[in-house]
Symmetry: C2
Subunit: 133 residues, 2 copies
């Protein structure tokens, strides 16, 4: 380790595999970590300009304005980047369930030495908010 | 989207580039997001077994027990995985500064339409806790 003070002008998308950086969404009020998704530069700029969290869906290969289908939008209150400028943290106002499985947070499973268990309550049934396609 | 209920037995390291999954460390008391680093299966198992957060450093190409050099250890209180089992969330007791630049959290820079600015106070000078090598 040699250089501790990294001059930074914004997220450095060149550091991410395929130009994608992890973006963590955290509930601006409660501090609950809601989800982690991926952003490329256009998704980041769209988020910054509109104030609505927009990601790049690796599985679907397209931009994804969070909540556009479910209504479970994320209004961005503040954006932070980490020391290496290769991870993004969004503080958001989350409508409804952040998780496509119907939980408030995607991190609804706890892992310990015994195994994995669900530790949250489902807010909505996914079939009620997503079209089957 | 077809399958909403993913059976999960733990993190699915096969889903990560090079077997690495993002691991978010969150302060167990305050909820502050401290850092994001990478874990492979051995790092995860070491973390689970020892209760001390252990990552895989992509830049140094080796395992990295958080705080082994600086003393700024992370004792893990709880581990969660997300709906796709490809992101890990650790709730930790953080000693000192999580960030190698001397800040409590790596997310000490805020980004808005005007630019980037430091919004936190440095806890320690990095040169005081890391050897120059």
């Amino acid at each position: 380790m040699t250089d501790f003070s990294t001059p930074v002008t914004g997220p450095d998308f060149s550091r991410g595999e395929g130009g994608l950086l992890p973006a963590i969404a955290q509930d601006a009020e409660t501090g609950e970590v809601l989800m982690m998704a991926w952003m490329n530069q256009p998704a980041f700029e769209e988020t910054l300009q509109t104030g609505q969290a927009t990601y790049w869906s690796r599985s679907r290969g397209k931009y994804w304005r969070k909540g556009e289908e479910s209504g479970h939008r994320q209004t961005v209150r503040a954006i932070f980047i980490d020391c290496d400028a290769d991870t993004i943290l969004l503080k958001v106002d989350q409508v409804g369930a952040a998780c496509h499985e119907g939980y408030r947070s995607c991190f609804f499973r706890q892992v310990d030495s015994v195994g994995v268990r669900v530790v949250a309550t489902k807010l909505v049934e996914p079939t009620a908010v997503y079209k089957k396609s």
